[in-house]
């Protein structure tokens, strides 16, 4: 574009609108894509765990195949989250980027500590039903807390609802036992992610008023 091109006021306003839209899209962390990835991972992953154990008498816990399917899907969702976030925040820094990165690191550290902790409990003796409840429920609680933390920092209503729903889901679902808990997490947890993906995608189609700054640095994670 020529440096000294004449701009009349209506052209200038149109340029602001078009450029804002273009830049916002380039800096967007594609939250619907991330939520969709986690929703599919939870729906199929926890669904596979449930399918594996739903006829067990007595309950012995998921086998290797369903555990591997679950693990691969979660890793795939984590990779998608990492790739789209890295692309959006490339060459960008400052407070909101640091906050988003810290949230991701802290969530990962908490998740790792939880699995080591739960493994330690298993090491001193834990029956399979209790282990099933601990691993499934604990990981969903941590994920719910991560979304609530994101909402506290960036103020997203969808993240707030999703985080609260996941906590409620575990608090209510734990009483149904380890088999049904996996099914509940698959359908109502994975389903909540997919619904959140649709809501954020539809919201993205509407042109937001003013600046869309905070949403462009936060990252979905499950």
């Amino acid at each position: 574009m020529a440096d000294h091109a004449e701009l009349d006021p209506s052209e200038a306003l149109a340029l602001i609108d078009a450029e804002s839209d273009r830049v916002r899209r380039a800096l967007d962390v594609r939250l619907p894509v991330q939520l969709m990835a986690w929703g599919i991972a939870w729906l199929i992953g926890f669904g596979a765990l449930w399918w594996d154990v739903h006829r067990q008498q007595p309950f012995t816990g998921p086998g290797v195949v369903s555990a591997v399917v679950f693990g691969v899907l979660l890793i795939a969702a984590a990779v998608i989250t990492g790739v789209v976030t890295a692309a959006a925040t490339r060459g960008r820094g400052g407070r909101s980027v640091r906050q988003g990165r810290d949230l991701g690191i802290f969530w990962g550290a908490g998740f790792t500590a939880f699995f080591v902790f739960a493994g330690g409990i298993g090491g001193v003796g834990l029956d399979p039903e209790a282990a099933g409840l601990l691993f499934a429920g604990g990981s969903v609680i941590l994920t719910g807390l991560a979304y609530l933390a994101m909402a506290a920092v960036f103020g997203g209503a969808v993240e707030r609802l999703l985080g609260g729903w996941l906590l409620l889901l575990v608090a209510a679902g734990v009483w149904t036992g380890p088999v049904t808990l996996n099914l509940l997490i698959a359908v109502l947890g994975g389903g909540a992610f997919l619904l959140a993906a649709v809501v954020t995608w539809r919201r993205g189609l509407r042109r937001p008023e003013g600046r869309a700054t905070r949403s462009s640095s936060r990252a979905g994670r499950g």
């Binding site: 574009m1 701009l7 306003l13 340029l15 602001i16 450029e19 830049v23 400052g94 909101s96």
Partner: protein
């Protein structure tokens, strides 16, 4: 009568620079390279216009860790808001 539109901002390339920097958080920055790729400008063109905006106090540039970071200042953000208000008032 004086031009009511800020001449520092009221030029296509500089306006696009201001829009891009205004889209990120108030305490965030873009590297020179990212800003250049985002706006699809040549380095020379971007430097020329950034210098004019910086001279007006609307952006800060900081060389750190082998990269140049560009950030809108509080004055720049206010000037951009005022520019948009002026545009709208001109259009009635």
């Amino acid at each position: 009568m004086a031009d009511p539109l800020d001449p520092v901002i009221h030029a296509p390339v500089r306006l696009r620079i201001m829009v891009a920097l205004n889209e990120i958080g108030t305490e965030d920055w873009l590297t020179f390279g990212r800003l250049q790729s985002l706006l699809e400008l040549t380095a020379g063109n971007l430097v020329t216009h950034l210098r004019k905006i910086e001279q007006a106090g609307y952006v800060d540039t900081l060389k750190q860790s082998g990269e140049t970071r560009v950030q809108l200042t509080g004055l720049g953000r206010s000037a951009f808001d005022a520019y948009r208000v002026a545009l709208r008032s001109l259009l009635g």
